[in-house]
């Protein structure tokens, strides 16, 4: 059940991998769409935490083109609903996330990413 809301917060945590380690790149993904309750207050409150370009690029890679290149200044309902969908309703069930810097692969199985590191990768 990894969704873009958490993917957008997640950088690589391998030892000495401190730059260019975000966003992790999805590979070979299987998606599932599951409806979630729309809470405009939550979505608005979450906006300042978002790395916008990473979110838009990742959503497009997963086939959702509803978000504009730039974060709009006017937050109308349509925009918030699209953002809600991208953040909370697209579930990556299978595949992996790969670090753009060190290429560490975090496999995703039954929706759960495996973030465990080998001994030599622990900071």
């Amino acid at each position: 059940m990894v969704r873009l809301i958490t993917h957008n917060l997640l950088a690589c945590h391998v030892k000495n991998c401190n730059a260019n380690n975000f966003p992790l790149e999805f590979q070979n993904v299987q998606l599932e769409i599951r409806e979630a309750e729309f809470n405009p207050e939550f979505v608005k409150g979450f906006l300042p935490k978002i790395e916008w370009k990473a979110l838009v690029d990742t959503a497009r890679q997963l086939g959702d083109t509803s978000l504009p290149n730039e974060q709009p200044e006017m937050l109308d309902d349509d925009f918030l609903k699209n953002l809600h969908h991208v953040l909370l309703e697209i579930h990556v069930e299978e595949g992996s996330m790969v670090c753009p810097n060190c290429k560490h692969e975090y496999p995703i199985s039954s929706g759960i990413p495996n973030m465990l590191l080998a001994e030599h990768e622990i900071a």
Binding site: I5, L9, A11, E41, K49, I112
Partner: protein, 282 residues
């Protein structure tokens, strides 16, 4: 009875059978629920803002179901795959990660509005190999440092845990302080052998009061859920907020319908009480 954390690492201890047994045990469910509500109370979130929380050692989602019911959006991490599998079966709404918290987090700065953790910290106190990164101080340092950065400023992280000695408490709090946290230890019902609970309340940034909250005391254990919801209700009245904290009736009905379609058993029947805001009882 010897403590489980002294017998095996958590991902081994909570194998398939133990994970199911633990989750199905109604006494465990009740204790876990009480501690979750108490942790939420100590977290002291603003009543009128939706929050994004981290559940550290989320296990099979017993706390997560409460976070769902209280309207929080959350992410959970746990090192035991069998527990996460049970959480999937129970269809909790949070994102789940297989993660060893002693290896640290990769979450960006300010990701979470708060964190809770129930019965987990004591697992960090045992070394599993002789590798330097597996010593308890190293793992605690890595954990608290990356957690501190993942929390927004200001915010809190609340851990219920089972220390075996004052030395353990000392080790944990000193490393948390070095990682930048304020706060300290809250002990509920210190004089009751049965009800005594230890909470580590950690603060990021400046709080309204830097004082650690008082522990609960008295002859009788109070219902933590009632306390939490009553308090949140009264704070909401004070701040005149219009926030809908509890999920809407329509949403709950829709979710139940979904479960039925998936053939899930034991979905509670709809009633006129479905989705109704619970009244705090006095």
């Amino acid at each position: 009875m010897s403590r489980p954390e002294l017998q095996a690492p958590p991902e081994i201890w909570y194998g398939d059978i133990e994970a199911k047994k633990y989750t199905a045990n109604t006494r465990n469910q009740q204790i876990q629920a009480d501690m979750t509500y108490r942790a939420l109370e100590l977290l002291n979130l603003p009543p009128d803002e939706p929050a994004f929380l981290l559940d550290i050692g989320c296990g099979s989602g017993l706390s997560g179901e409460i976070l769902d019911a209280e309207g929080y959006i959350w992410t959970g991490v746990d090192v035991a795959p069998s527990m996460l599998e049970v959480a999937l079966e129970r269809e909790v709404e949070g994102d789940l990660f297989l993660q060893d918290i002693g290896q640290g987090f990769g979450f960006r700065p300010g990701s979470f509005d708060g964190a809770i953790s129930i019965s987990v910290l004591q697992w960090l106190l045992n070394a599993e190999t002789s590798h330097p990164t597996s010593s308890p101080p190293h793992r605690l340092t890595r954990f608290f440092t990356t957690l501190h950065s993942a929390l927004k400023n200001p915010s809190r992280a609340v851990f219920q845990f089972y220390p075996t000695s004052d030395d353990q408490i000392q080790l944990i709090t000193s490393i948390a302080q070095k990682a930048g946290f304020g706060g300290g230890i809250v002990v509920d019902y210190p004089n009751s052998k049965k009800a005594r609970k230890v909470f580590l309340c950690l603060y990021v940034g400046q709080q309204k009061s830097q004082q650690v909250p008082q522990g609960l005391d008295g002859d009788e254990e109070q219902d933590a859920k009632v306390r939490f919801e009553r308090r949140r209700q009264s704070e909401k009245v004070r701040s005149k907020s219009k926030r809908k904290a509890v999920k809407g009736r329509d949403w709950i009905l829709k979710k139940k319908e979904l479960y039925r379609k998936r053939g899930k058993e034991q979905v509670p029947r709809d009633s006129k009480y479905t989705g109704r805001k619970r009244k705090a009882t006095f």
